[in-house]
């Protein structure tokens, strides 16, 4: 798999084949990595921040390309802006996991071409302030977005998901989906804004937002099989965070993180 390691704003290209080209722009206010996807491929990006980092990463998907993208972020304070630009018949599957201490992340999705599609799955374990602004522009007919944000707030964790999907008049037959859920195991305030801004009648749209703890029914069910409260909670958190993750290495890494937090 193609692989890039980013430590603070140092970008190390570990392995990139000819399906992806890149430019690093150091002259703009924020260091920017631009990646252009030319053919169907997959890419793993590992971010690690140990001081305040500002960074922009732009993904451009050519027409008729599919990208499977894995992004893992760990470390401390960071301000990240990510843009996904999708051309005609392109398909982007994003699987992101964050385990960061204070982050402000801005994600913009531009579905620019007919039948372009994004499937965006995001998971985070929050131990401090995390703010995510995610904006999806359906700029063409028949475009599709499926956005799933799952967060667990623990210790001093505080999560804010501000998710906005836009469809302008004339962009018919778009599919717009948002599923946002925060399990809040703290007394802090967590927020979700699942916004739909749709100026077209011929659109399928759905959004959901849920903040709370795991249900009593789920806990009772697990405990009624002899699993103690702590292990039942860990099982539910693992399920919540690990569902949809299809790479064993990433699953294992996240499982270890969860074990560390709930040891």
């Amino acid at each position: 798999m193609n692989k890039i390691e980013i430590v603070n704003d140092n970008i190390n290209i570990i392995n990139l084949n000819n399906d992806i080209t890149y430019i690093i722009d150091e002259n703009s206010l924020v260091k920017t990595l631009k990646l252009k996807i030319l053919k169907d491929t997959s890419l793993f990006i590992n971010y690690n921040f140990d001081n305040l980092t500002k960074l922009e990463v732009i993904f451009e998907l050519n027409e008729f390309t599919n990208l499977k993208l894995y992004e893992i972020k760990t470390g401390f304070e960071s301000k990240i802006r990510t843009k996904y630009l999708l051309e005609k018949e392109s398909n982007l599957n994003v699987l992101k996991f964050n385990d960061v201490d204070t982050i402000n992340e801005n994600v913009v999705v531009n579905l620019n071409g007919k039948n372009s599609k994004i499937n965006y799955i995001f998971k985070t374990i929050s131990t401090s302030k995390e703010k995510y602004d995610l904006t999806i522009y359906h700029n063409y007919l028949n475009t599709e977005s499926y956005i799933k944000n799952n967060g667990v707030a623990i210790k001093d964790g505080k999560i804010k998901f501000n998710v906005s999907s836009f469809v302008e008049k004339g962009n018919k037959e778009c599919n717009v989906n948002q599923v946002n859920r925060i399990i809040n195991l703290t007394d802090n305030k967590c927020e979700i804004y699942p916004n739909l801004y749709i100026d077209e009648y011929d659109v399928n749209a759905a959004h959901s937002a849920l903040i709370g703890k795991f249900s009593d029914t789920e806990m009772f069910y697990l405990q009624s099989r002899g699993i103690n409260e702590k292990d039942a909670l860990m099982l539910l958190i693992k399920g919540f965070i690990l569902s949809d993750i299809d790479l064993e290495d990433i699953k294992e890494m996240i499982s270890k993180k969860i074990q560390e937090y709930w040891r």
Partner: protein, 261 residues
Amino acid sequence: MHSLKIINLCVDIDNKNILNNFNLEIKSGEIHAIMGPNGTGKSTLLKVIMGDSNYKITSGEIYFDDTLINNLEVDKRANLGLFLGLQLPPEIEGVTNADFLRTALHSKEKENFKLFDFIKKLDENVEKLKMDKSMIHRDINEGFSGGERKKNEILQMYTLKPNIVMLDEIDSGLDVDSLKIVGENVMDYYNEYNPAILVITHYKRLLSYIKPTHVHIMKNGTIIKSGDNTLVEYIEKNGYDNLEKIELNSTCIVEENKKNE
């Protein structure tokens, strides 16, 4: 030999009395069936025995053998040997059946837990219950049909090998074939491990597989009549109306049944 003894149990939820001086004792080798109209507290009874904290015991005692379990945590009750097969088992996202069962059995057996034995037994039981093998690796009850969920409950029972088995309307949502599989498997378990079984049902058809040694009729949070299997026939023909006013013993019930034929 194990027993579950409930003495003068009164239970409230949201200040509403659900169970009212409820008494029952069941022992290993006995199969008790509780029947009764909707809303009489049958499901509440089982959840209270299992320790659901949504219900408040206002008076009375629940004993497992000689241990008072009124204030015991749910998981500790399960590890003593209590099992509740739910009427509506929940779906749990991201937690596979295999992970769930492995964690549950590990909690029970601790250092004696053997992964290989667990997998082998699980495969055998899945086959015995005629379940699709892929269900083991699917999230708990996600996308399962009513019948698959109930079989999954029985699979959990087989894995955990409880001494006191409580089944809440295990027949609801089952087609005739699935009912037969579930019923026969409960009886196989009974014949092999000699547990005490407490089953709640509205229908005679389940009791043609799981043959009760004792039948109780519950109304307004308490048992109003107890008898043997003939009581099931009586209820099937006469319903629950005025049952508390009628003096019945086994012979009477048979006669009542004959009269109605």
